[in-house]
Amino acid sequence: MSVIEIQNLTKRFGTVAALDDLSFSVDEGEVFGFLGPNGAGKSTTINILLGFTRASAGSAQVFGHDVETESKQIRFRTGSLLEGYGVYSRLTAREHVERAANAKGVVADPDAILERVGIPDAADRRAGGFSKGMRQRMAIGMALVGEPDLLVLDEPSTGLDPNGVRDLREIIREESRRGATVFFSSHLIDQVEAVCDRVGILKDGEMVTQGDVDDLRARLDASIVSVSVDETPDSLLGSLRGIDGVEEVSATDRQVVVTARGGVAKLRALEAIERANVGFTDFTTTDPSLEEIFEEATLGVLAAADEGDADTGGGSLGGDGGGGPGDGDDSGSDETDGDGDDEERQADWSEATTEGDA
């Protein structure tokens, strides 16, 4: 059953189309990552879903309620943390949570909620004196009031320190286990990758791809094969570059790194290295990260490759074919070079990496 159902949604600001015929759905209980570079239309979509902005065309339902005519019913069941919110500087954190509970008509324990989001000692302090991170934690607490059936989070990690980001992930996982649907909008791919079941990537107001992260990896079908060897002769590197599907080959003294698209290409590369008799001792394959999928989707490489397959159903890769670059901050491939951040991410996504002995 779909909690969010968006059909042919279009929003124009003057002559600029912020959303262009957008269609997708989010199922009950799933954690849906809504990705896109800055200006892609993520916040506009959320603003329409919550009734802040009117659509120019198309329709959207949440819990089966129309977002324009039944917005209040939607928000009774929704907890939202929206980018760019401002706190009531003269109200305390406790009063903020109490206001959320009053508006929803539920009984809530402000102390328990503020404890859960990590600011129990700030309950009776006015929010005007809070740091950005404290405000963000308080806002997360307000979103959790009343155990909402849907959590809409727009850039929720903004202002949070690493501990706060980790706490946020844990809260999202707990809410998901409770049965809540989570709509997680961000341009920070690692945040989305860490918690989401399914992602949709928005660019220029259009959904360029969506599906399970694993499905998207499979569709990207590119991975890195790192092979430990005793030597790396130029003849080997040349033969690897000649294999159909191999996109890039590099080498150090004792390692060959091959970027290949498709299982056959990877197998042929491994066979070629074994045949070269260079002391093949071990190999590792690394599947593409969500960041690489995002880069492919927003830079239009995959979209161009899949042009014509513009079905917005699950797992499809949309074909805008525009090829326009995303913001530099928002894209960029994960080189998995072994620094701490990457190791942490690899730990979160261990299933993305397969290892084998030769």
Binding site: F52, T53, R54, A103
Partner: protein, 288 residues
């Protein structure tokens, strides 16, 4: 439930903000302030004569309020919604299950409470002094004065909230209330006389003025308010208020527009139409 929540939240914030106290003190100044001055004059009593007539003091208060109250009422309400949009707290206000009606009506009610409580406090003080010191006090007159003043204040609370709901920025809303005040305070009369100048006989502004002049003039809520108060504390045809502020009609002019019911109707019209139109515009507006 949500409407009540919005009202309570807004009142709590007003109680803790300089704006709320500033508005209250600005209303108390020409009411309780005048009462305090009367007490001081009575205490020093340099002339030794009788105390001032009640009606004269009430008219003085009314004239002061006709200048001050429109701006203070709009000042107390113009930021109610647009500030929430600028600061981002509208994402809490309307991200929670509050409808736009809850937000708009809730803000209107809370700002009304602020103004009405301030007016009542001021008039209570005025009543104590009036009945204790002044000559010929009138309970019914004071009651009608209070009712007219509350209605007059709410007209401009309505303007403030409507402007706040429609404006896209605090600067825009500030410009809106200043423009509204200027139009009613001076622009309206300029329009009346400009109308006289361009209508036959062209180039002349001669009495008796035509009926339309008064129909237009008495629609102005400032004029309507003073007309009502003058009727309550009638001091004859040659008072300053009648001569200057009300563009006093010559004796031969006798239209519906110069009557008190027209003034009451004009105040009631503004009281209802402005907030309703403001809400209808706010209801469909993109807020983010």
């Amino acid at each position: 439930m949500s409407l009540r929540t919005v009202v309570e939240d807004d009142l709590l914030r007003l109680r803790r903000s300089p704006l709320g106290w500033g508005v209250a003190l600005s209303v108390l100044a020409p009411t309780a302030g005048i009462a305090a001055i009367m007490v001081l004059l009575e205490l020093v009593d340099v002339t030794g004569g009788p105390a001032a007539p009640f009606d004269n003091i009430m008219m003085t208060v009314a004239v002061l309020l006709s200048f001050l109250l429109p701006f203070v009422a709009m000042l107390g309400s113009y930021s109610a919604i647009v500030y929430e949009r600028e600061s981002g707290s509208v994402r809490f206000l309307l991200g929670l299950p509050n409808s736009r009606w809850d937000a708009y009506a809730g803000k209107y009610v809370s700002r009304t409470v602020l103004l009405v409580v301030s007016i009542l406090a001021g008039f209570l003080t005025l009543a104590l002094v009036g009945f204790g010191i002044l000559t010929d006090p009138s309970a019914s007159g004071l009651l009608l004065f209070v009712l007219a003043t509350v209605a007059f204040a709410l007209v401009f609370v309505g303007f403030g909230i409507a402007i706040s709901g429609v404006a896209n920025s605090l600067i825009g809303a500030t410009a809106g209330i200043i423009a509204t005040y200027v139009v009613f305070r001076g622009g309206w009369m300029i329009a009346q006389f400009a109308g006289l100048y361009v209508t036959p006989p062209q180039g002349e502004v001669a009495r008796p003025y035509p009926d339309w002049f008064f129909f237009l003039g008495r629609v102005n809520p400032l004029n309507a308010y003073l007309k009502v108060v003058v009727e309550v504390f009638d001091r004859g045809p040659n008072t300053l208020v009648r001569q200057v502020l009300l563009t006093n009609p010559a004796p031969e002019v006798n239209t519906v527009a110069t009557g008190t019911p027209y003034a009451v109707l004009a105040l009631t019209g503004w009281l209802v139409v402005v907030p309703v139109v403001g809400y209808l515009l706010f209801r469909r507006k993109d807020l983010l």
